[in-house]
């Protein structure tokens, strides 16, 4: 277990390092330059442009800039935004909590509703299964930006239950404002997880040992818990890990549709403005979230399935 954890942490560090290099490099190669944003609609004098480039260290070669950035980060300094001059940590910190809360709410909805739907479909073949299956088939085709429009027009504009835009005051207001965005992202994921659950559980139910246990007269609940669910958990946990990571990316679209002041707007703008330190920080947050989610799902699997612990192999 400890070895697994170490391996995972090593993997995380390597992934972050490599992706930071790729992101930095591709941003460097893309056309345009951040100082253009600073000069707005003016063609600056050559000296003024050179001064700005020097101040932003844009006149240094790529490896030097990357090294400066990397050493800064390792010392806990994410750098300063090239456009607004604010510390990157401040710019991100302003919206990060909101985005994390949004992902948390979404995944809570997904892990409750998705498996519930899947279980119902797997254990109650016939009409329930048919209804759930058609429901999940439809919901997996509804991307978050479509769900956003729908939810806003029904629950915010027509019924007025939730704010159409922005967040209220305090934690309560913030959660109230995040319910609809969370639902918008959960629709697709719930359908997906529901289908994964249904198939996994169905497969286990049909297994010989499960049928034997049932025939021997073991209580249905016990069989379900220790023979069916435990074995069906692996694909479900993997799916939850992947969905969580994907939810981080979906927040970009949904936050903008609901005017949620998370880090979505910041991400989109800083990429367009080539604000290197901000893009690096935000992109690495996303990459980190992705790697962590996968690692977490592997660890959970290892807890659930002793075989994985013994071999130490997780892939």
């Amino acid at each position: 277990m400890g070895r697994l954890l170490l391996r995972r942490l090593g993997g995380l560090a390597t992934t972050l390092l490599l992706s930071s290099l790729v992101i930095f490099g591709s941003l460097y190669l893309a056309p345009g330059s951040p100082e253009n944003v600073l000069f707005g609609s003016r063609m600056p004098a050559a000296a003024a442009r050179a001064a700005a480039r020097h101040r932003l260290h844009l006149d240094q070669p790529l490896p030097v800039r990357y090294w400066d950035w990397l050493t800064g980060v390792l010392h806990g300094d994410l750098g300063t935004s090239m456009v607004t001059g604010q510390p990157v940590a401040d710019r991100i910190g302003a919206g990060l909590g909101t985005t994390l809360l949004l992902v948390l709410l979404t995944m809570l909805l997904v892990v409750v509703v998705g498996p519930a739907l899947g279980l119902a479909a797997a254990l109650l073949p016939g009409r329930v299964d048919a209804v759930v299956s058609s429901l999940t088939s439809v919901s997996v085709t509804v991307p978050p930006f479509v769900a956003s429009t729908l939810l806003i027009s029904v629950f915010a504009v027509r019924l007025g239950w939730f704010p159409a835009s922005g967040l209220g005051d305090g934690l309560g207001g913030e959660i109230g404002g995040l319910v609809l965005p969370a639902c918008a992202m959960a629709v697709l994921s719930c359908g997906f997880l529901g289908r994964v659950t249904r198939n996994a559980v169905r497969e286990q139910v049909e297994r010989e040992h499960v049928q034997t246990a049932l025939v021997r007269g073991l209580p249905r609940l016990v069989v379900l818990r220790s023979h069916v669910l435990r074995n069906a958990l692996a694909p479900i946990v993997t799916a939850v890990g992947l969905l969580t990571a994907g939810t981080f990316a979906s927040t970009l679209v949904v936050e903008s549709a609901f005017a949620v002041p998370g880090i979505g707007q910041l991400t989109i703008q800083s990429v367009a403005q080539k604000d290197f330190p901000v893009v690096q920080a935000v992109a690495l947050l996303l990459v980190g979230a992705f790697v962590l989610c996968n690692a977490a799902s592997d660890l959970v699997q290892a807890v659930v399935d002793p075989r994985l612990r013994e071999t130490g192999s997780t892939s």
């Binding site: 600056p44 003024a48 604010q86």
Partner: protein
């Protein structure tokens, strides 16, 4: 991915003139585009009561800087005038009123003398000195500052303190229009001591600014919102704000903005996209104001960027202009919230001018239905049939993409082979600043505006030697002489005569081809009132007019 999320991070061009890529959205809605206030009405009902907080749209992105001269684009020009007031205040009808400059005069055509208000104080309590004013104005001349308003200072020779409370601007040529620039953010007064100490960090969210406006910045997260706080010790109680705090939110997505307005979480917005008309005209939370022809100075044009390529022959440009179905474009692409534009400086530039009837008479002459047969003939005469013309547009702005397609079809109908190229916002923005970037194109689409209605300035920006938007090197002595003469006279009728002389030539030479003029679109909640209905809000402390009904 929603393309509107990536709206131009560019403020298109400069001076006070900008081609901000702010295109109305794509969805053409037919209902609700009737103008609902007359152009004679310049403001909503006056606000009288106090407000604890006013929540307003700060336009499509957060300001890059709090420094008033750094970037001239909608977000900065909507927000910053409330913090950093220009020397001269501009009322909703664009008339000029005393501000930090208690009075101003022009003893001769080449000198502007400003008398400062002795009461004027910065937000830190220090008095405004002539030195501060000289410093603030001179920043526009400093290449290191790279002011976006620098072009307005082309004719400025020196700015000097000629008394403890007197500043004199010496001009290199007779210019009665320059004084209008003292009502824009380029003439916002900043505290010299603070700015010098802050250095390159001046205006950064962490450092801030020290100015003379009725509000100060309470908080700014750099991305989503900026909160202004009323300055309790504001030097001019008669112009103090009614709202304790003003929260500006920056929403990139027009439909998110429409939701925010119709649900009341924002109380108002200027410069709305046409895609929001359908929803906002039904909103119970407030009223969508739709202006008439000439209710803004915005103009959508095809800026010809090369006079040597496919558009080299004036007859080709005339043919294209003659063939464009302006009324159809206004109706289909702008959902009716725009009007055909037959001269770059259209009604929005002279409706409130004393010589409006003169301008109107000349303008009406230009208004013509498209004539494809005559245009085809001109194309043939120019020998341009089948020659390729390449036009660029901002791919992130749906209305520009549609407009480019219409131009392509128009070209095809008269025998021109028009190739259109959609550019990402950053690349599109560089068309306005980098000759190399525009070398590949014969022209590109732009949405221009000017903070004050002055046709001579609009024309000078693209048709004179020093014009910052003179992308193609256009030079015509008759136009240059007429526009120089226009700014050298203070008499509205005489100036109109000169402007119209230039306009007549420009209508033939067509260094720019006018297309449509968008109508004002703004929303105000029932809970508040007082917002101006004209473009005068740009660069001004307009928030002070807004209060409870």
């Amino acid at each position: 991915m929603n393309t509107r999320l990536l709206r131009a991070a560019v403020s298109g061009s400069a001076v006070v003139l900008l081609a901000a890529a702010c295109g109305p959205g794509s969805t053409a809605q037919k209902a609700g585009t009737e103008s609902n206030f007359s152009t004679a009405q310049v403001t909503t009902a006056p606000g009288t009561g106090k407000l604890t907080d006013l929540a307003w749209s700060g336009d499509y992105r957060a300001p890059y800087s709090e420094d008033p001269v750094k970037t001239a684009d909608y977000p900065e020009e909507t927000v910053l005038g409330n913090v950093c007031e220009p020397l001269i205040r501009v009322a909703a009808d664009y008339s000029m009123h005393p501000g930090v400059a208690a009075s101003w005069s022009q003893p001769d055509p080449k000198h502007v003398v400003l008398q400062l208000d002795p009461r004027a104080r910065f937000s830190d309590g220090r008095p405004v000195t002539a030195e501060d004013v000289v410093y603030s104005l001179t920043r526009n001349l400093d290449p290191a500052v790279a002011s976006n308003y620098a072009d307005a200072y082309n004719d400025v020779d020196t700015v000097t303190a000629t008394g403890p409370a007197q500043v004199t601007v010496a001009l290199t040529k007779p210019d009665y229009i320059f004084v209008r620039n003292l009502g824009t953010l380029g003439a916002a007064v900043v505290e010299k001591a603070f700015a010098v100490k802050a250095g390159a960090g001046f205006g950064n969210a962490g450092t801030g600014v020290v100015c003379t406006g009725p509000y100060t910045v309470q908080s700014f997260d750099g991305t989503n919102q900026m909160v202004l706080k009323r300055n309790p010790d504001y030097w001019d109680p008669g112009h103090a704000g009614k709202a304790d705090t003003v929260t500006f939110k920056f929403l990139a997505d027009p439909s998110a903005l429409a939701n925010a307005l119709s649900s009341g979480s924002l109380q108002g917005a200027f410069d709305l996209q046409t895609s929001t008309i359908a929803q906002l005209s039904k909103a119970a939370a407030g009223k969508l104001y739709i202006g008439g022809a000439g209710s803004t100075t915005q103009n959508v044009d095809l800026a010809v960027s090369s006079l040597t390529g496919g558009l080299a022959d004036a007859r080709t440009r005339q043919a294209l202009s003659m063939a464009i179905d302006r009324a159809g474009i206004a109706k289909a692409i702008y959902a009716g919230a725009a009007d055909p534009l037959y001269a770059v400086a259209g009604p929005g530039f002279w409706l409130h001018d004393p010589a409006a009837s003169t301008y109107r008479a000349a303008y009406d002459q230009l208004s013509k239905a498209p004539d494809l047969a005559a245009a085809t003939k001109l194309v043939q005469q120019a020998g341009a049939a089948g020659k390729q013309i390449t036009l660029a547009y901002a791919a992130g702005t749906p209305s520009q993409a549609q407009l480019a397609q219409v131009l392509q079809q128009t070209g095809r109908a008269i025998g021109l082979d028009i190739k259109i190229t959609g550019l990402p916002d950053q690349q599109y923005g560089s068309l306005f600043t980098d000759p190399k970037a525009r070398a590949a194109y014969d022209g590109f689409l732009t949405i221009n505006y000017l903070e004050f209605p002055e046709a001579a300035t609009m024309y000078a920006s693209f048709a004179t030697a020093s014009g910052v938007q003179n992308f193609n090197g256009y030079a015509n002595p008759a136009v240059q002489a007429a526009l120089d003469a226009a700014q050298a006279t203070d008499d509205p009728a005489a100036r109109a005569a000169q402007v119209l002389k230039a306009q007549a030539v420009l209508g033939q030479d067509l260094p720019w081809i006018p297309i449509v003029q968008p109508r004002a679109l703004l929303f105000q909640s029932k809970a508040v009132t007082g917002a101006p209905l004209t473009f005068s809000y740009l660069d001004n402390s307009w928030v002070t007019a807004v209060g409870a009904p």
